[in-house]
């Protein structure tokens, strides 16, 4: 196998691993946040507006980690700089 094949294999496997491992943490975090928000909504329905707003903002913060992982894996698949380098070199030859 030459180096371009290695780059392709490593990129694809890493892209899958990135989104797989990277979504575990945010999933746990969002689940905990939603569970806590549900409990406090049940206890204090009057404060629903404040709780919902804070929940949304917090979820966005937590979710951004998963979004970063998604963006990294998308870059690895569709806009891989190393792969583009190899293609540019082979085109130059």
């Amino acid at each position: 196998m030459d180096s371009s094949t290695y780059i392709a294999i490593v990129s694809i496997i890493t892209a899958g691993l990135t989104i797989a491992i990277g979504s575990i943490g945010p999933a746990f975090g969002e689940a905990r946040a939603v569970a806590a928000a549900m409990t406090s909504l049940a206890q204090q329905p009057d404060a629903s507006a404040t709780i919902t707003r804070t929940l949304f903002v917090g979820l966005a913060m937590v979710e951004s980690v998963a979004i970063y992982c998604f963006v990294v894996s998308m870059i690895l698949i569709f806009a891989n700089p190393f792969w583009n380098h190899v293609i540019a070199q082979t085109a130059g030859q």
């Binding site: 951004s64 569709f78 806009a79």
Partner: protein, 246 residues
């Protein structure tokens, strides 16, 4: 497969490219400007009002109320900036029901531009409210050691703002594109309906985060007494609202 609407080029002349992002952004701007111009052309204060005026009033008062609930004292001042952020992001995802349209927020250039607007607006509002000395001194709180971390957080949250919106919008269009190759009949419709929901949530989150940042820049710089009375006011407000709801 296109990762972003930047790659769809309609017209090119030398260095200048007219890609889908720019064209759809101009289209959105045209719709927003013409729409608000047409709606506000004949406003009435009487009971008999047009439907569009009612819609616009719901949107404007809703945004106003949200800004006030976050803790900004004078929401009229921030309404123009935060409201246009919200309306642009919301409309750009709402227009995905039009065939052939790609949301311009699915391109990192658009979201980076929006995030840079927030990055510039936060210190501007902060300095206007608190004065340049007090604003700059707030970076050294609680201790001088926190100075580099405060500056890093200012930059990193701008990056997060841009990448979050871009990632959400791009993932929506990408998932629909992938599903079209696997199950092209009914499932993409469900996913695009879900995309409308996440688009609305993202628009809300983007504008509410900008509001929170501006509120933090303008409010936290004030002396302690003000903050206390403010929190009391807000408690009173929420109590009042709870009674209304009940």
């Amino acid at each position: 497969m296109n990762l972003s609407p930047d790659n769809i080029i309609f017209w090119q002349m030398g260095f200048f490219k007219l890609n889908a992002t720019i064209v759809y952004t101009w289209g959105l701007m045209l719709v927003l400007v013409l729409g608000s111009k047409l709606v506000t052309r004949k406003l009435s204060t009487e009971l008999q009002r047009s439907r569009w005026q009612n819609l616009l009033e719901i949107i404007v008062t809703g945004i106003n109320q949200q800004i006030e609930e976050v803790g900004l004292k004078n929401p009229q001042k921030y309404l123009g900036f935060l409201g246009s952020l919200f309306l642009f992001v919301a409309m750009s995802s709402l227009f995905t029901i039009v065939p052939g349209y790609e949301p311009p927020t699915g391109s990192l250039s658009t979201t980076a531009a929006l995030a840079i607007c927030v990055f510039v607006a936060v210190p501007m509002f902060g300095i206007e409210e608190a004065g340049i000395g007090r604003y700059l001194r707030a970076y050294t709180k609680p201790t001088i050691i926190m100075l580099p971390f405060n500056i890093i957080s200012e930059v990193s949250r701008t990056l997060a703002l841009a990448v979050r919106l871009f990632g959400n919008m791009m993932s929506g269009t990408l998932i629909i594109a992938i599903l079209l190759t696997i199950t092209p009949f009914i499932f993409p419709i469900i996913m695009s309906a879900l995309g409308l929901l996440t688009g609305m949530v993202q628009a809300y989150i983007f504008s509410i985060l900008a509001t929170v940042y501006i509120a933090a820049a303008t409010r936290a710089r004030k002396p302690v007494e003000n903050a206390e009375s403010e929190s009391k006011d807000r408690n009173n407000n929420t109590n009042h609202k709870g009674i209304n709801h009940g």
